[in-house]
């Protein structure tokens, strides 16, 4: 059972960092960005590129995050603004197309084999019967720290108030003298930056491949939607709940129901997210903590 | 015709409707007025099936339609229009008129694929009807135009035309004059009066008091989710609670002036 806990902490942290960003974008632009998870992949590869150029891991990671954040704003200004003008449906298809373009470009530049960040191979530490590696401990701590920091920023700074104002009512925010464009830029930087951190942490823990982001797409969307789009706390809680459900479903011996001992194929792990998502969408579309998502 | 009994509706803890009751008799033309946020639109939505009331009942032609789907309510003969017409630019005026019609066969996949001869006859009849309505609302010259590219007033007229395609028994209009220029307002009022003589029951939500007095036999005044008065349009100024509803709670001069304009113009 401790294994479930470790699993939940690691996977939940990765999903939470991405789901929070997705929910922020959704809140400010009312648009589901399918390409969001690709920022994680880009984060991983930029760290690979920078360490490859001889920079240290920490510096590379920081620079990589900054690069991805800037790229996100550029993409927003050049691409998404234009797509959004043609309506949410076109923007959604466009974000899917962008995701494909990013992946194809990375495959073109780096090939389809995974890349590794130069981290030493470490033995796992025994933690009440479950093994956790030092890099995983760092991963969970950094994620939780950043999530807490984000919560503080949104709650107590003027930037946070502005973001919340735009999220509450995109049209009205303009009137009350806030520069909506600036706020949206900052939201893009923040969420893409968090996504990049998540991607780099995952790359350090295992490896970065072109499918890194895409493999997370459905769990991340599941967490953001289940949490109630636009709700930061909801997204975080849902992310850990989802990770816990994934781990539990695989750990439980279903033999009690079907007879004998029967563990679900590990290949079905992504299905847990889907199932949770579909059930949630069908029965509680407003999510755990969010407002109604039904829009006619 | 339409009986609304004590409907309540809350949004995030705030009461939009707090036990409002309305009755519209067959052949009547009734107005529903009230200050902004008094719950007029919510009342309309609850009657037409777009929102489900938390409490109370809506009876249409004696049938309980509380919480029924909008299309089911519409099938019983209640058709509504919207404050913002928002007609699509990808459909022509004629297309929109036909979409308002009730083409039983053309709407099923099976018939449109198999018995297409009868589908065609059905459509030809609907086209004839559309032309006569378009002539009546003077949009026949624009029949091939994209609906969404008409002026605001024309879109309102077209919405009315689309509603008429389905031969409604009761027509609910949500701010029909919003965004409509004065000459078209007069025309619109004439159309509504004429419809009433043809036996269509009308319920109109409106800010423009002049339009209300032109069109309605009777007015309900809604304030903070409850009906506070029901009388002929001309008698509205005799009710102190109505004036208070419009003027009393606000110290702002601007609001007073705008309310003045609305009530007195």
């Amino acid at each position: 059972m401790v294994e479930v806990l470790v699993d939940t902490a690691v996977r939940g942290s990765i999903i939470a960092l991405l789901a929070v960003g997705l929910t922020l974008i959704q809140g400010t632009l009312r648009f589901a960005n399918v390409a969001h998870v690709e920022f994680a992949t880009l984060g991983g590869y930029s760290a690979v590129a920078l360490t490859g150029a001889g920079l240290g891991l920490l510096l590379s990671s920081a620079l990589g995050v900054a690069l991805v954040a800037v790229l996100a704003v550029v993409l927003y200004r050049l691409l998404f603004r234009r797509l959004l003008r043609s309506g949410p449906m076109i923007a959604l298809i466009g974000s899917l197309a962008l995701a494909i373009v990013i992946r194809a470009t990375l495959q073109l530049l780096y090939g389809s084999r995974p890349r590794y960040l130069p981290t030493p191979l470490e033995r796992g530490i025994d933690f009440h019967g479950a093994l956790i590696t030092p890099s995983q401990i760092r991963l969970v701590c950094i994620s939780l720290g950043l999530l807490a920091l984000l919560a503080l920023v949104l709650k107590f700074t003027s930037l946070g108030r502005a973001v919340r104002a735009v999220a509450a009512n995109p049209e009205l925010a303009d009137v009350s003298g806030l520069n909506r464009g600036r706020v949206v830029d900052i939201v893009w930087m923040l969420s893409a930056g968090l996504a990049a951190v998540s991607g780099i942490l995952l790359s350090i823990d295992s490896a970065v491949g072109i499918e890194l982001g895409f493999n997370l797409l459905l769990p991340v969307f599941a967490a953001a939607i289940v949490g109630g789009l636009g709700s930061i706390a909801g997204a975080v809680i849902a992310a850990y709940a989802l990770a816990c459900a994934e781990s539990l479903v695989l750990q439980i011996d279903w033999g009690a129901i079907v007879g004998g001992t029967h563990h679900l194929e590990v290949g079905y792990r992504p299905a847990v997210g889907f199932a949770l998502l579909v059930v949630m969408l069908a029965f509680r579309p407003q999510g755990l903590m969010g407002r109604a998502v039904r829009r006619g | 015709m339409l009986v609304v009994e004590g409907i309540k509706k809350h949004f995030a803890g705030i009461a939009a409707l707090d036990g409002a009751s309305i009755e519209v008799r067959a052949g009547e033309s009734v107005g529903l007025v009230g200050p902004n946020g008094s719950g007029k639109s919510t009342a309309l939505n609850c009657c037409s099936g777009f929102e489900r009331p938390d409490a109370g009942r809506v009876l249409l032609l004696g049938k309980d339609v509380t919480g029924k789907e909008p299309w089911d309510v519409a099938k019983l003969g209640l058709v509504r229009t919207f404050q913002h017409a928002n007609l699509p630019t990808k459909m022509s005026v004629m297309d929109l008129m036909l979409a308002g019609g009730h083409l039983v066969r053309g709407e099923t996949i099976r018939h449109s694929l198999v018995s297409w001869k009868r589908v065609r006859e059905e459509e030809a009849d609907a086209v004839d009807k559309a032309w006569s309505i378009l002539e009546r609302i003077k949009l026949d010259k624009l029949a091939g135009h994209p609906g969404g590219k008409l002026s605001g007033g024309q879109q309102k007229l077209l919405s009315l035309g689309m509603a008429l395609m389905g031969d409604p028994k009761i027509l609910m209009l949500d701010e029909p004059t919003a965004g409509v220029n004065p000459s078209l307002r007069v025309e619109l009022a004439e159309h509504l009066r004429k419809l009433q003589t043809e036996g269509v029951t009308l319920l109109t939500v409106e800010h423009d008091m002049r339009f209300i007095s032109d069109v309605c036999d009777r007015v309900y005044v809604l304030d903070r989710g409850a009906i506070i008065a029901s009388c002929a349009p001309a008698e509205l100024s005799d009710h102190p609670e109505v004036l208070e509803a419009y003027l009393g709670r606000s110290g702002s001069r601007a609001v007073v002036e705008s309310a003045d304009r609305r009530t007195l113009s």
Binding site: D7, S112, P114, E122, D205, V208, G209, S247, H263, R269 | -
Partner: protein
């Protein structure tokens, strides 16, 4: 690097513009830097005799495909230097399978219908070779598999053959080796593809036959970033030894996690050691034992020299040899049958295999047309190098 990147991107964007050209363009893949020219063909040969090949020249297994192509090239040169095929020059028409089943079948279709070849060599992945051989059988064309090892290939038909030992041969060898080392229980992990599911069942069956227990066997979905769940299942089943087979993309991650989870404290046995070790962190696979095909047969030494002389490098995989043998055997069989008739060629193939001594060892075809024995070797990783035990 930077310049190349820009060039690649610019060219990528130019692709749609030159599309019209692509339809008329035909496959002329240059196969790398040649150090020495291939021997020239015997001038007395008149006309051409065509057979086909479908190889993964693009896609994830392109490296293997390129190596298979080299094997075929070398064989063709050897044959045409001699007496050719039925007095004609042998030509192998090579098509790209792109590493996918549908494209492999498309390519085979083209060979059968346009070039009308009596025999087709190919492919590498079992998932592609099986449907392709089934298609070839339906068209009454001989198929020779030089790279796939799924036991399903036994059932593809009477005109279908393999010059590489299938997983039942490899599985039996692996099970024997494990049993000999004294392990009584094993846990197996393999990729979820035709190869993986095949090897899992053949090793399990053979090991149980010997009296051992298989505590758990699992397949993993390729392309994941994390395999701890799968590995934990192996660990929790507490076997005497872990048996794994991975390659490419996933091998590195799996080997790293095996180390992190402390599974290297127990023996880890690798099936086809050489497809796994080169990509892994050396620390994670140090001391690893495993089996692999024996590519250092005596007969093969001359061939290895020929290869190295021609291409200026050592074997880039162990798969060129099987393609070489496939081509050689087909040429001999066609000469024996003295006809382009697939039935006759198939009969001749079985016949000549009884005495055929290939560069990958003797290839005796069993009644299913499959290679019945194959030399394997047990090896160990010492100081990062694979050393035979």
């Amino acid at each position: 690097m930077h310049r190349r990147r820009i060039k690649a991107r610019a060219l990528g964007l130019a692709v749609p513009l030159v599309l019209a050209l692509s339809l008329s363009a035909c496959g002329s893949d240059d196969s790398g830097k040649k150090k020495a020219d291939l021997p020239s063909a015997n001038t007395s040969l008149e006309g051409e005799f065509k057979i086909g090949a479908v190889l993964p020249l693009t896609g994830t297994n392109a490296t293997i495909g390129k190596d298979q192509q080299r094997g075929i090239e070398l064989a063709v040169a050897k044959i045409n230097e001699g007496d050719g095929v039925m007095g004609k020059k042998l030509v192998v028409d090579i098509e790209d399978s792109q590493g996918t089943a549908d494209a492999a079948i498309q390519a085979a279709k083209k060979l059968v219908s346009v070039a009308q070849v009596p025999a087709v060599i190919g492919e590498y992945s079992s998932g592609n070779s099986i449907p392709m051989q089934q298609y070839l059988e339906s068209q009454s064309v001989v198929g020779v598999n030089p790279g796939s090892s799924s036991i399903e290939l036994r059932t593809t038909g009477s005109l279908q053959f393999s010059t590489i030992g299938l997983d039942d041969v490899a599985g039996a060898f692996t099970a024997d080796a494990l049993w000999d080392k004294g392990y009584e229980s094993i846990a197996i992990l393999a990729p979820n593809n035709s190869y993986g599911t095949g090897i899992v069942s053949s090793v399990s069956d053979a090991f149980k036959e010997l009296g051992g227990t298989v505590t758990t066997s699992g397949v993993y979905t390729e392309g994941q970033s994390d395999y701890r769940q799968e590995l934990n299942r192996l660990k929790d089943s507490k076997p005497d030894a872990y048996v794994i087979t991975t390659y490419g993309k996933d091998g590195t991650v799996i080997n790293k996690e095996i180390y992190e989870l402390g599974m290297t404290d127990q023996p880890v046995f690798d099936i086809y050691l050489s497809q796994d070790v080169p990509d892994a962190d050396p620390k994670s696979v140090e001391g690893r034992i495993g089996m692999d095909v024996n590519s250092t047969s005596e007969n093969g030494q001359a061939y290895a020299d020929f290869y190295e002389k021609t291409y200026g490098e050592k074997f880039i995989s162990s798969f060129n040899g099987y393609a070489y043998d496939a081509t050689m055997m087909l040429a001999q069989a066609i000469n024996k049958a003295n006809a382009a008739d697939p039935e006759a060629i198939a009969a001749a193939l079985t016949e000549i295999s009884k005495t055929y001594e290939g560069v990958t060892g003797p290839i005796v075809l069993d009644p299913d047309g499959q290679r019945s024995e194959q030399p394997y070797v047990i090896a160990e990783v010492k100081n990062g190098e694979i050393v035979p035990q």
